[in-house]
């Protein structure tokens, strides 16, 4: 079956590539993707949703000289494929000359690559009945954990597996398969004043056997939910802020977006003009590594067909490189870092982007914080990439004398990213690469906390 699917991808993509070139494209790139997905949701032990489907899509980038355009379709009928080709060719005439447009130098292309353990056949083996059982077990573990858990937003189990293939007129041919399984639980407990409290917990891995157990996921979700009961605001103040890994990853993600070549040539990054400078505390090392075996964001080659490679973006606080695709590198007069995203548009894409773990345990960081805020979740969109200004809603706990004192909600935390990353004074050893952007526990020495 799987071989057939990969053959089909190859056949379709190669055929479309030929037609683009016959139709007048001077160069072209074709990407084909196929997937099989299953997801289920249960709530209060009852099945809510069982969703199952297969997908197949084609996307192209065509060039006529220095004019480029893209098109995509999931309509694989002869007329659908004709339209895919005609649209791209016609749109090339609409786009304007861009001196930087074009495929990479063929000498730079990846020729061979290692298996990165991206696909686990066991994922495909999970059928709807087993998926429901897994979700049920996770939700039950949460509901049995504490009698104050009196409702549930449900538990979900999902698995997806797919194949990716890329062909370019520059001579690249390559593909790979991947899988991903995830489980999540969101229990609910009633709090004072008609409020409900819920905290989710999730686990995800490419290999089914490496998921955290359903029971562990359910218990952790329940523990987090119960811990929110009695949440209150704190008075407006400045204090140290500790971010748990789930909260810290959104800081890391926002930083990563400002370290791409696209953000830089668009002058849409607070890191502009700071290459080679100290942009974070010496404890901060940020890495984009596509070569981690089994990593959720791993890939053997980038979206331009260049070999994937590990890039240290920030090393001990110093900004070392932008993440660059071929186009962004040309714009900035630099060389690609093999970081092209996997689609037909231009732009760098993150692989596994993480803040490298430090030596402190999570408990040591807490214990050494006399007074401050421990953030477990953030809300809203308060980040301005151009200026680095950051302000988001936060929930978590107040820390007194190195221990969690009471839960906190309805506050915001704010600090410009230039100061925030410089003020990181503790980095935990608890990095868990369950998503393609990840961070261990971190502490920022002082931030503004706005509350009552």
């Amino acid at each position: 079956m799987a071989t057939t699917q990969e053959e089909l991808l190859r056949e379709r993509a190669d055929a479309v590539l030929r037609r683009l070139l016959q139709g007048g494209a001077t160069d072209a790139k074709v990407i084909a993707r196929a997937g099989r997905d299953l997801s289920v949701r249960v709530r209060l032990d009852e099945v809510e949703l069982v969703e199952e489907a297969g997908t197949f899509s084609l996307a192209v980038r065509a060039f006529k000289g220095r004019r480029a355009a893209t098109s995509s379709t999931n309509d694989l009928t002869p007329s659908g494929l004709a339209r895919l080709v005609d649209d791209a060719l016609e749109l090339c005439d609409l786009a304007q000359e861009d001196p930087f447009a074009g495929l990479p130098d063929p000498d730079d292309l990846a020729k061979r690559w290692e298996d990165l353990e991206l696909h686990d056949a066991a994922c495909d083996g999970v059928d709807a009945a087993e998926a429901v059982q897994r979700a049920r077990r996770a939700e039950s573990a949460a509901r049995d954990y504490d009698p104050r858990i009196n409702n549930s937003e449900g538990a979900a189990f999902g698995r997806t597996s797919g194949a990716y293939y890329m062909a370019t007129s520059g001579g690249f041919r390559g593909g790979y398969r991947g899988s991903y399984a995830s489980i999540s639980v969101s229990p609910v407990a009633s709090d004072e004043g008609g409020k409900n409290r819920t905290a989710s917990y999730w686990s995800a891995r490419r290999a089914l056997a490496k998921l955290e157990s359903e029971e562990a996921v359910g218990i952790e979700a329940a523990r987090r939910t119960i811990a929110l009961l009695g949440s209150k605001r704190v008075p407006t103040t400045t204090a140290p802020v500790v971010f748990d890994p789930d909260a810290a990853r959104s800081l890391v993600s926002a930083f990563a977006g400002c370290a791409t070549g696209d953000a830089v040539y668009r002058r849409s990054s607070f890191l502009l003009d700071r290459m080679g400078e100290r942009v974070a505390s010496g404890l901060v090392t940020l890495v984009d590594d596509p070569l981690i075996p089994g990593g959720p964001g791993s890939r053997p080659f980038d979206g331009d067909g260049l070999p994937a490679r590990r890039n240290v973006v920030v090393e001990n606080g110093t900004l070392k490189t932008w993440l660059l695709d071929t186009y962004g590198a040309r714009k900035l007069g630099l060389r690609s870092t093999g970081s092209a995203g996997g689609g037909v548009g231009t732009g760098a894409g993150l692989s596994n982007f993480y803040l490298a773990p430090g030596t402190s345990t999570h408990d040591e960081i807490l214990r050494s914080t006399k007074r401050g805020l421990y953030v477990t979740g953030m809300m809203g969109f308060g980040f301005n990439a151009v200026t680095g200004d950051f302000s988001r809603g936060a929930v978590g706990y107040w820390i007194e004398d190195g221990a969690l004192a009471f839960p906190v909600a309805e506050v915001t935390i704010s600090l410009n990213f230039k100061e925030l990353f410089a003020a990181i004074d503790a980095v935990g050893n608890d990095l868990d690469l369950k998503g393609s952007v990840a961070s261990p526990t971190i502490r920022v020495a002082e931030m503004t906390i706005a509350g009552s």
């Binding site: 009852e46 949703l49 069982v50 297969g54 995509s72 090339c92 809203g380 308060g382 935390i413």
Partner: protein, 486 residues
């Protein structure tokens, strides 16, 4: 309904298409879906053509188009749903999807009743969908916007402008006999300018659109050049932004886009799936006060050419105007077919989905806080020290607790009743019923936002509209960095 003959490609499932789905074939598929029992089944066929043009650095750098086609089939048993979709419209593939969705069912086969074609109101008749307008006219529009932005201020360093358009053709058939078609056009223009001066850098954005053709740009104040000048105005104004205050204070929200306050503070919490499950902080509060008496909140899917408007929802029901809060009292929820059945009510036409790849759920359309009695000038004058928020970046809510945040992209200090200095990007944080109970003044100047907003829920995005008059909230937490009195 039918489209004017504009050269727009029709869906393969439309009359005369290669895979025409007529009421009889739809009924046969629904029969397959219910062959192993189940209470109800529906099918949702969708053909979407999308296109975008992006201008950067003075040239139209990328042009793209995409086609997405498929059929989703759902089988309902109690409150459980089996869902499957296929991108292949061959009969065997459709039957396979129907059987996959039927996995959820247990029991005796039950047939669908004969389905018959239904008509619906027409809220976005467009003579020429923008997607069939020749490309050069749209390219010129982006180039004009670029020139206008650069001419507006010498400090403009970069301009990015984009035009996104789509036409979504739908066919919905249900086992209780409905068979409905709709064609939903969408247009969205956006422009972002970056200005630089004295080593400082700032960006500003403006955009709009709706279920319109290119005639959108002919409206007063909505030309591409108008958006360009507005984006530059915001960027320049915010160049001088100072640290925002932190803590509780009076807040005045300008009319229009501030409706996202409603969307977050009220709208999501009133989506009936959350209330059916009892997980919303508004659950069980119908008939109770949840806002100040000034507040009446409605959800209206019927606004002419509105971004959130729909002739029918994605389950074939027609939305009208649904009153959620009336004079501060909670009156009702937003329903899809399933939640309406649970509450024993008629669906409100709010069952929406991102695409055929997902099952529908209750979603907002255009959510409005209706006008109040106060002169907007008088509202500003009444504030001793606070924040005036004019433009917004987006928001988010925690349904369970009702706590929400939304971010300001253009805001000013109010001192002694006057707007003074611009302040940096900040978030406002509050709790739904608490914030709305503190609405102490409400302007006469109801405005509906221009068509830019997209709402995300459980991974599905749908276009929405918001609207409100000038609003004064007597106390809200402002998430700035400057701690007062320090």
């Amino acid at each position: 309904m039918s489209l004017p003959s504009t050269g727009l490609p029709r869906a393969p499932f439309a009359p005369g298409g290669a895979f025409e789905l007529d009421p009889e074939r739809a009924r046969k598929l629904l029969d397959v879906a219910l062959a192993h029992g189940g209470d109800a089944a529906d099918l949702f066929a969708e053909y979407t053509i999308g296109a975008s043009l992006v201008l950067e650095e003075g040239i139209v750098k990328s042009a793209s188009r995409g086609v997405s086609v498929g059929v989703g089939i759902r089988v309902q048993r109690g409150f459980a749903a089996g869902y499957a979709f296929t991108e292949d419209l061959e009969w065997e593939a459709l039957v396979h999807a129907a059987r996959t969705a039927a996995q959820i069912a247990r029991g005796e086969a039950r047939g669908a009743v004969a389905v018959s074609e239904r008509t619906h109101p027409e809220r976005y008749r467009v003579e020429v969908p923008s997607i069939v307008v020749p490309g050069p006219a749209k390219r010129d529009l982006l180039l004009e916007a670029d020139r206008a932005a650069r001419a507006a201020d010498s400090r403009v360093q970069r301009v990015e402008a984009s035009l996104n358009e789509s036409v979504r053709e739908l066919l919905i058939a249900t086992s209780d006999g409905r068979f409905v078609r709709d064609v939903q056009p969408m247009l969205r223009f956006g422009l972002r300018a970056i200005v630089e001066a004295d080593g400082r850098r700032q960006s500003g954005s403006s955009g709009g659109g709706g279920r319109s053709g290119m005639e959108y740009f002919a409206q007063p104040g909505k030309g591409a050049g108008d958006h360009a000048r507005e984006a530059v105005r915001v960027a320049v104004a915010m160049l001088d932004a100072r640290e925002a205050p932190a803590g509780e204070m009076e807040v005045v929200l300008g009319p229009g886009d501030a409706g996202i306050l409603l969307h977050e503070a009220v709208g999501h919490g009133l989506e009936a799936d959350f209330n059916r499950k009892g997980v919303s902080n508004y659950s069980g509060r119908i008939g109770k006060p949840v806002a100040s008496e000034l507040c009446t909140v409605v959800d209206r899917g019927d606004i002419d050419h509105g971004r959130g408007s729909i002739n029918v929802d994605d389950e074939g029901n027609v939305p009208g105007s649904t009153t959620l809060i009336e004079g501060g009292t909670l009156r009702g929820y937003l329903h899809d077919a399933l939640s309406a059945q649970h509450f024993g009510l008629a669906p409100t036409g709010n069952g929406r989905r991102e695409s055929f790849r997902s099952a529908p759920m209750p979603r907002m359309t255009n959510t409005l806080l209706l006008a109040g009695p106060h002169d907007p000038e008088e509202i500003l004058r009444s504030v001793k020290r606070g924040i005036f928020a004019r433009r917004f970046g987006g928001g988010q809510v925690d349904i369970a607790s009702g706590d929400f945040v939304f971010s300001l992209s253009e805001a000013y200090l109010i001192e002694d009743g006057k707007i003074t200095a611009p302040v940096k990007d900040v978030n406002l944080v509050g709790n739904g019923p608490d914030a709305l109970s503190k609405v102490t003044m409400l302007g006469t100047d109801l405005e509906i936002s221009d068509g830019i907003w997209t709402c995300g829920k459980e991974g599905q995005s749908v276009p929405v509209g918001v609207g409100c008059p000038t609003i004064k909230i007597s106390s809200m937490t402002v998430g700035g960095t400057a701690v007062h009195g320090r």
